[in-house]
């Protein structure tokens, strides 16, 4: 695990301004000193030009690896340590060479007496007397000392919207307000028993597995082998067309969702998350059970939400790795030989992008081997990793069927296995289970799942180690990477300690500064703001906090959470944000097929969609909310449509304006998550909007410019959920004093605000 020791030195001294002398000296480990004082400013820019595997000094004793090699820093420090122990006339080789004291092909690279030289001298001393820094758990606090976080209750609100798509209840808010983060854990534990949480979890994992690609039509069932599952289209025998169509849709969805439902099932039952790879079963509901021809016991044979464990005949289950749908989503061919699947195994379950290994420059003229994937260095860098895993998946053919190769696996490939371990001969028929055991025993498994959940909750993938030392922000990015990596590693360690309880990961991420960071106050002077150190600190903080443009799914849930109704014209109407023929793709969503990456930066189309949402949701829900008793309202519990802020003579009515301001304060919290004092300038701004629109409306009605009748679309005449007409006494069709339209303006203003559209 990395230390944050040097990180505090880099900015800590700077942030302390004139008080450095009074502060205790920060511990800087050898690794961090090398990285920040030697590698980044000197070696990565000067030495490696020649001292690289392909440079003119490639035959010297001093060859550095470039930043695109995994573990390059450790390797280069080891090289430097070795060299530092060699001396020329009593002086370290590491000093006499770059100063050209002895003949150096590159001439003078470092002047004696320069800051760079002093750093090299210190490094040599440190190598003789290594510095190791103790980790006392305060490093992260120090690193974030200039960052303020959301309050506990604000954190609860953000997590609640994210995890279960609703606002916290008053009881939950009270518990966290009184009990702090410990209470937050308990509230989150309760939330993570709700069905909405598992829908969110499925959504989160589908962003990676993309198996929702098969939700349309019978796309999932079409993937199944007709001989293996002769009853897969069982629903076609149903005579009633509506019933048949329903059974068809539910059957296909059940097959398409089997892999994601396994993820949900493991978490729902508090099983070790490793079971997603080791489960000796698959998940079926009453519909997919019929597809597979399985006799399973269901409490309600028509309940598509009732999922049970089941074993498919002839299949040695091993969780996701043997799921029909997962294997088909990541297909193979006769020549690909499961390599693509192996790559996905590394990506999803080992936090390793194998293709990055191939990103070092390769020279095509150097590839002349008969079997390059096995014998050429340019190819084996990847294939030595993925071929053994591909071989361990050998029993699954291109259609995801269990078909052990009759003629054995390809001899010209690296032998089936995992890392240095070869697949035992006796395990061949159940090789995937053996592979799963290897994977879950690898520390990267825990890291991979932390990465997935982190990206799901923050909207941003974990940082990658910067690979371009020549970039001006290299050091800042390196520090940022190290800090985040340390935090994610801490969470991964807790994940392992909890026996792979994924809920632990979720709670820890929610409580981490990366999720909760709210503002940054370094206390810089004007001069300091312009300094290199200030820019570096900003580089370091680039991944801190979330400012996530909500996905279509998240915005859909948030609209309903705050208003009580989805963004739909009627209960049976299409969802504008979720329908692929409406705004889902425009708004940055994915179809899990050809569009598999979410757009996180809004464009003009996306902001216009949000504007339309704000207008329509304000229109549909303002009068609608007023049809209910005040205590049951979601938006306007403190006022009524009859509340006008001024009397006929233009004098303010204090009691009314107070109520209006209280309601605006309530809306700022409910819609925007802002806890504001009643005299906050933002309350004033919202109130001014209400007041001016109302005044203009009153004037317009008096002059006959505006109608007293609400626009038809904004009238409340039917109950949304039942689609039944409201009683006459409940209906709101007119707005004689223009207050409803004034509130609509306030609603539009807030619903289109940055804080509503981001979390």
């Amino acid at each position: 695990m990395r230390t944050l020791g040097a990180l505090t030195l880099v900015f800590g001294g700077f942030a302390l301004g004139g008080c450095q002398a009074e502060e205790p000296e920060q511990c800087v480990s050898n690794e961090d000193f090398f990285k920040e004082q030697i590698w980044a400013p000197v070696m990565s820019k000067k030495c490696i030009t020649c001292h690289s595997p392909t440079g003119v000094a490639k035959s010297s004793q001093f060859v550095l690896q470039s930043a695109d090699w995994t573990g390059y820093l450790e390797a280069n420090l080891a090289t430097v340590e070795r060299l530092a122990k060699l001396e020329y006339e009593g002086e370290p080789w590491l000093l006499v060479k770059p100063t050209n004291t002895v003949d150096h092909g590159g001439g003078v690279q470092i002047e004696r007496g320069s800051a760079e030289y002093d750093a090299f001298v210190e490094l040599v001393d440190r190598i003789k007397n290594p510095v190791e820094c103790a980790e006392d758990g305060t490093e992260i606090e120090t690193y974030f000392a200039d960052v303020s976080t959301l309050s506990d209750v604000e954190t609860l609100r953000k997590a609640s919207l994210s995890l279960v798509g609703r606002l916290p209840t008053p009881e939950e808010e009270l518990a966290v307000a009184n009990g702090g983060l410990e209470a937050l854990d308990l509230v989150l534990d309760e939330m993570m028993t709700e069905d909405a949480f598992y829908e969110r979890l499925i959504e989160l994992y589908n962003d990676h597995f993309l198996t929702d690609r098969y939700l349309p039509s019978v796309d999932a069932i079409d993937l199944l082998d007709g001989e293996d599952y002769p009853n897969s289209y069982w629903f076609e025998a149903i005579e009633d067309e509506a019933e048949r169509n329903l059974a068809r849709a539910r059957s296909n969805e059940a097959v398409a969702r089997e892999a994601l439902e396994l993820v949900a099932h493991v978490v729902r039952n508090d099983r070790p998350f490793t079971e997603i790879l080791t489960a000796d079963y698959t998940m079926v509901n009453p519909y997919s059970a019929q597809v597979y021809g399985i006799n399973a016991n269901f409490q309600d044979p028509s309940d598509e939400n009732e999922w049970v464990e089941a074993k498919l005949s002839g299949i040695p289950h091993s969780g996701l790795l043997t799921s029909h749908i997962w294997l088909n989503r990541f297909p193979t061919t006769a020549t690909n030989r499961n390599r693509h699947r192996a790559r996905m195994v590394f990506k999803f379950f080992l936090a390793t992008d194998v293709l990055k290994l191939a990103e070092r420059p390769i020279d095509p003229s150097s590839i002349e081997d008969f079997n390059p994937t096995r014998e050429s260095d340019a190819c084996t860098v990847c294939h030595a990793n993925i071929d053994p895993v591909a071989g361990a998946l050998q029993n699954w053919d291109d259609q995801g069927r269990y078909r052990p190769p009759e003629m054995g696996w390809y001899q010209e490939m690296f032998a089936p296995g995992f890392g240095d371990a070869e697949l035992p001969a006796g395990e061949k028929l159940d090789a995937t289970s053996w592979l799963a055991g290897q994977i879950i025993g690898d520390p990267r498994f825990a890291a991979s799942q932390v990465d997935i959940v982190y990206q799901g909750l923050t909207g941003a993938p974990p940082l990658r180690e910067p690979s371009d030392p020549s970039a001006p922000d290299y050091l800042g990015k390196l520090v940022a990477f190290d800090a985040q990596n340390a935090e994610l590693q801490r969470i991964a360690d807790l994940f392992v300690e909890s026996e792979f309880d994924l809920k632990t990961v979720i709670k820890e991420i929610v409580k981490s500064p990366y999720y909760r960071a709210k503002s940054f106050d370094p206390g810089w002077s004007e001069d300091e703001k312009e300094s290199v150190e200030a820019q570096q600190r900003l580089d370091e903080l680039a991944p801190v906090g979330t400012a996530r443009w909500l996905t279509p799914e998240q915005l859909e849930r948030k609209v309903e959470a705050v208003t009580g109704y989805p963004w739909r014209e009627s209960v049976n109407g299409q969802s504008y944000l979720l329908d692929f023929n409406e705004y889902r793709i425009f708004y940055g969503g994915i179809d899990s097929d050809t569009i598999v990456e979410r757009m996180t930066v809004p464009n003009g189309i996306m902001t216009n969609v949000s504007q339309r949402m704000a207008n329509e949701v304000a229109c549909w829900n303002t009068a609608r909310d007023f049809t209910k008793p005040a205590a049951a309202r979601n938006l306007f519990p403190y006022i009524d449509p009859g509340f006008e802020p001024e009397d006929d003579n233009g004098f303010e009515i204090p009691a009314v304006t107070e109520a209006i301001r209280v309601n605006i304060q309530y809306l700022h919290w409910r819609l925007l998550g802002e806890q504001l004092d009643i005299d906050d300038p933002e309350i004033d701004r919202s109130y001014a909007l209400f007041l001016e629109v109302w005044r203009d409306g009153k004037r317009g009605i008096e002059l006959g410019e505006y109608s007293v009748t609400l626009p038809g679309e904004c009238q409340a005449t039917r109950d949304f959920w039942s689609d039944q007409a409201l009683a006459d006494a409940e209906r709101i069709t007119s707005d004689t004093n223009y207050t409803i339209r004034a509130w609509m303006a306030v609603m539009t203003y807030m619903l289109s605000d940055y804080r509503f559209l981001h979390e």
């Binding site: 061919t333 990103e359 003009g604």
Partner: protein
């Protein structure tokens, strides 16, 4: 682009400017961008996703005879065709395409991609650098010329990293665009059918503007500053989306995906709201049954490029368009055991349009598709020359776009030791 806004956006995106550089001295107080119709060159980048086979296209090899034990291609060397100075494989749509466009075409062969990984190859092809983090050229061009435009950078796929400099736009169901273009109206076609009175809408906007100023002043975390800047920039340009409605065809083409993509892209360009587009067509990763799977794909690709020019001509903008066609790498010399071809780190690019001199082939490769070197001065093949890398091509394209110097060049440097001046014209 407003320089101060550029600095703000770039700096807050985590992209550090070198202190003391011209960009870094501009301060960070931004002024709202004013969207205006774009009338400059329209940049179209066509990606053949999966890794195409140049030897079946513009760098033909063939086989000497039918007894060749390890043929590069199944056609004979003697069957290789030419149009002007350009040789091409006697396959698919090649003859029609090259005969029609050879005078406009610049072919660059023997490009050393230095990778055979899909992601890294795609990045190298379209950003000019193998390392991560560099935006695509399309993104840089769009960010330079008008990041505030609502469809400044339209992407249908391929490598489209923006580095936070400009928002990408995806196209969905164009029938929904009317409602999106007119969010203030109940009925998009009725200007008087509004959610709010004109005065109320003005007041809402005033409140938004005031709050926006406060929010920008109070945002202190870089991630939040970036997000606000992105949203507000997008919002500023969103009104121009209405213009797109005027140029979209009533019905989009169904016969060719690239034509369909081009129709939307060119309509956006004509509306003055788009600067660069990624068009994408996949299926080239043919590890098995190469010829039967790959050649039809190449045919569709060339038909698509042909369609782009037809559409551009029809919309009378062909004189102001650049088309760059490429892929992440090439395919291995010869066929594997399954008649497929695997990944090979040598590729080609095809360029045509404004600022490109056609009927030329620069670079080349051996009979076994090894890259040959060129003299940086004459650009002719020379054993003492240099290998062409994507950075050479991008450096010249950047010059064409006017972004080889200045802020973007500082942030995302390309510095080939020996540039290939005159590569494009």
């Amino acid at each position: 682009m407003n320089r101060r806004d550029f600095f703000k956006l770039a700096g807050l995106a985590g992209l550090t400017l070198i202190p003391g550089s011209s960009a870094a001295t501009g301060g960070i107080a931004g002024e709202p961008l004013t969207p205006r119709a774009y009338e400059g060159t329209f940049w179209i980048f066509v990606n053949a996703a999966g890794g195409w086979d140049p030897t079946s296209l513009c760098d033909p090899k063939g086989r000497a005879n039918e007894m060749d034990p390890d043929p590069m291609n199944m056609y004979l060397t003697s069957e290789i065709l030419s149009a002007g100075n350009i040789n091409y494989a006697p396959l698919g749509y090649n003859d029609t395409f090259f005969q029609k466009y050879y005078q406009d075409l610049l072919i660059i062969n023997g490009i050393d991609m230095q990778t055979n990984g899909h992601d890294s190859g795609s990045r190298h092809t379209w950003s000019g650098r193998l390392v991560e983090g560099f935006p695509s050229l399309a993104a840089l061009v769009a960010a330079n010329a008008g990041p505030e435009l609502p469809m400044s950078y339209l992407s249908f796929g391929g490598y489209d990293l923006t580095g936070g400099l400009v928002a990408r736009t995806r196209s969905g169901n164009v029938n929904a665009l009317g409602r999106i273009a007119y969010p203030e109206r109940f009925d998009p076609s009725n200007a008087d059918d509004r959610f709010h009175s004109v005065r109320a809408a003005e007041l809402i906007q005033q409140a938004r503007d005031g709050r926006r100023t406060t929010q920008e002043m109070e945002a202190t975390l870089p991630v939040e500053q970036v997000a606000m800047n992105q949203m507000f920039t997008a919002t500023d340009g969103a009104n121009e989306l209405k213009l797109l409605q005027q140029y979209l065809p009533d019905e989009l083409a169904q016969d060719n995906a690239l034509r369909r993509q081009a129709q939307v892209a060119l309509a956006a360009y004509r509306a003055g709201i788009s600067i660069a587009v990624n068009l994408n067509y996949g299926g080239f990763d043919t590890h098995g049954d190469h010829d039967n799977a790959h050649i039809p794909r190449l045919q569709t690709l060339l038909e698509g490029v042909d369609a782009i020019w037809q559409e551009a001509e029809a919309q009378q903008v062909a004189d102001n368009v650049i088309v760059v066609v490429g892929s992440e790498f090439g395919r291995t010399p010869g066929y594997n055991a399954n008649n497929g071809k695997d990944h090979w780190s040598v590729s080609s690019m095809m360029l045509m349009g404004k600022g490109i001199s056609g009927n030329r082939v620069i670079g080349g490769s051996t009979d076994r598709h090894q890259p040959l070197t060129v003299d940086p001065g004459s650009l002719s093949l020379s054993e003492s020359g240099i290998r062409i890398e994507p950075q050479h091509i991008h450096y010249e394209l950047r010059k064409l776009a006017g972004i080889h110097e200045g802020d973007f060049a500082t942030m995302f440097p390309l510095s080939p030791a020996q540039p290939l001046s005159g590569l494009l014209s």
